[in-house]
């Protein structure tokens, strides 16, 4: 397909921010997973050992918080759910069973992507706040620490589960999606198939 026929989906800034979020999240996730379960402590070994992980995991989390905030400042308006998105979410099972064509509308982001974004944003807020508490145990009040040791892993598991869905959808499940987040472009057919409302919007101009 000639390049001029393709549609710009993600700007350079969006892609750079997305991959900064991805890398900082993965660093925090893998170092965190080493401390999550004794059977996974060897993962901490890959990242420099327990003491290094204990010292740097919070720094990775802080970096994640900063770039996630940057990403949110760009995307949070686009992530608001409209009537089509609510319909999408009510019929999410159809999407999962590949029965959605002609049934579900989708703008630049579909209802599932938006719901995932809000779940990840909520997890990020909980992870960062509880992480700050766990970072400085010697000065934080005991009651707050007791809440943080529970909230931090709960939010971590929630966002990792979300990440598994996100990575699957963005790679194997929807060919072309990963390329759009690397090169920034999608084919017209791709846009019309997966984000028909967005396709109509950008081609109307």
């Amino acid at each position: 397909m000639p390049p001029d026929r393709r549609l710009a989906r993600f700007s350079l800034a969006e892609r750079l921010i997305h991959w900064s979020v991805a890398l900082s999240f993965l660093y925090a996730a893998f170092t965190g997973i080493g401390l999550w379960s004794p059977r996974l402590y060897w993962v901490a070994g890959i990242f420099g050992g327990g003491a290094t992980v204990s010292a740097w995991h919070p720094l990775g989390g802080l970096l994640f918080a900063l770039v996630f905030a940057l990403m949110s400042s760009r995307w949070h308006r686009q992530m608001r759910l409209d009537a089509d998105d609510r319909l999408w979410l009510r019929h999410g099972h159809r999407f999962i069973l590949h029965e959605e064509f002609g049934v579900l509308e989708s703008g630049r982001f579909n209802g599932g992507q938006k719901a995932l974004y809000w779940m990840q944003a909520a997890s990020a807020v909980i992870l960062v706040l509880s992480g700050l508490v766990l970072w400085f145990p010697e000065v934080m009040p005991r009651g707050v620490r007791l809440a943080a040791v529970l909230l931090h892993p709960v939010a971590a598991v929630a966002s990792l589960t979300g990440l598994i869905v996100h990575v699957y959808m963005g790679t194997a499940a929807i060919p072309g999606a990963l390329r759009s987040m690397i090169e920034g472009y999608v084919s017209r057919g791709w846009a019309a198939t997966h984000h028909p409302k967005w396709y109509r919007e950008v081609t109307r101009r």
Binding site: L35, P137, V157, L160, R188, A192, T193
Partner: protein
């Protein structure tokens, strides 16, 4: 050090000594005999080579407000006014309680950083400690303290180095009033019961033993003249492993692992069943 290990932090298997049948040791603190001389504090500092750092003065005889990374043995001086207006001045030595079910060990993510010996002593291994401070949250007695210089958490070892060669802990050795004694836990419980009988006969109707069941019992036992109000001595009334820590290290771990493994498996199965979503070559309105 003191025999085989019974439990090892962040290790799925019990320690190699878990099935051995050995007697356990304990420390008994008879608060009715404490005169607040602080010899135990000094002996602890001396034996463990801990430098004394002048802390905050809070207006009492108490050396400092709380335990510290380099200060593992503190006599708490408690002034309490009773309902009838009488003033109580209660002294109680405070240190690691060496719980039978240690919350610190449960919370620790670093394999081998916290161990429990078959004799009941709970000890920290600094070379395995990663300085995360989770033990401080897991401990219902708020005992472990993070050393800001070494980034290691420290606490009373029950002088495991002395005990392992047949000596009594340094604090016991220094006590001039027999307020402190060391021996098998069984013997000390019997001794404590006899002492409680004496105190009750003396009119101390609230006398009793402090050996909290919520942490499986402790290897530091107290005789309290007012056991009905342990908080008057600065001791928690009903210490137990915090439920958030128990939930986090118990059911949540399994639920989380199941969710993550299920997520990966679910994605693989979905792909095998449905394959990728089809994408149109060209939009329907393509000219």
């Amino acid at each position: 050090m003191s025999g085989a290990l019974k439990a090892i932090s962040a290790t799925p298997q019990p320690g190699p000594g878990a099935t051995r049948q050995t007697g356990t040791v304990a420390k008994l603190i008879d608060t009715s005999l404490c005169i607040g001389c602080k010899a135990c504090e000094v002996a602890c500092q001396e034996w463990n080579d801990q430098p004394f750092q002048v802390g905050a003065y809070a207006g009492t005889y108490q050396t400092q407000p709380d335990l510290a990374p380099n200060f593992w043995n503190l006599i708490k001086f408690n002034e309490r006014e009773q309902e009838d207006g009488h003033l109580l001045w209660l002294m109680a030595k405070y240190q690691c309680m060496h719980c039978a079910d240690p919350g610190c060990l449960r919370a620790c993510p670093a394999p081998g950083a916290i161990v429990q010996y078959t004799n009941g002593i709970v000890d920290f291994n600094s070379d395995q400690c990663i300085g995360c401070g989770y033990c401080m949250t897991g401990c219902p007695f708020d005992v472990p303290k993070l050393n800001p210089v070494t980034k290691k958490v420290q606490k009373c070892t029950l002088c495991t180095d002395r005990v392992s060669v047949g000596l009594e802990p340094a604090c016991i050795k220094a006590c001039p009033t027999n307020c402190l004694s060391f021996g098998t836990r069984e013997n000390l419980l019997a001794k404590a019961e006899a002492r409680v009988e004496d105190l009750r006969a003396d009119g101390r109707r609230g006398a009793g033993i402090y050996n909290p069941a919520g942490v499986g019992g402790t290897h530091v036992l107290y005789v309290l003249a007012h056991a009905d109000h342990p908080e008057n001595y600065g001791l928690p009334r009903d210490p137990r492993i915090p439920w958030t820590v128990a939930l986090w290290k118990g059911p949540l771990k399994w639920l989380g692992n199941a969710l993550l493994a299920g997520g990966v498996l679910g994605a693989v199965f979905h792909y095998i069943r449905f394959g990728p979503w089809k994408t149109k070559e060209e939009p329907d309105d393509a000219a």
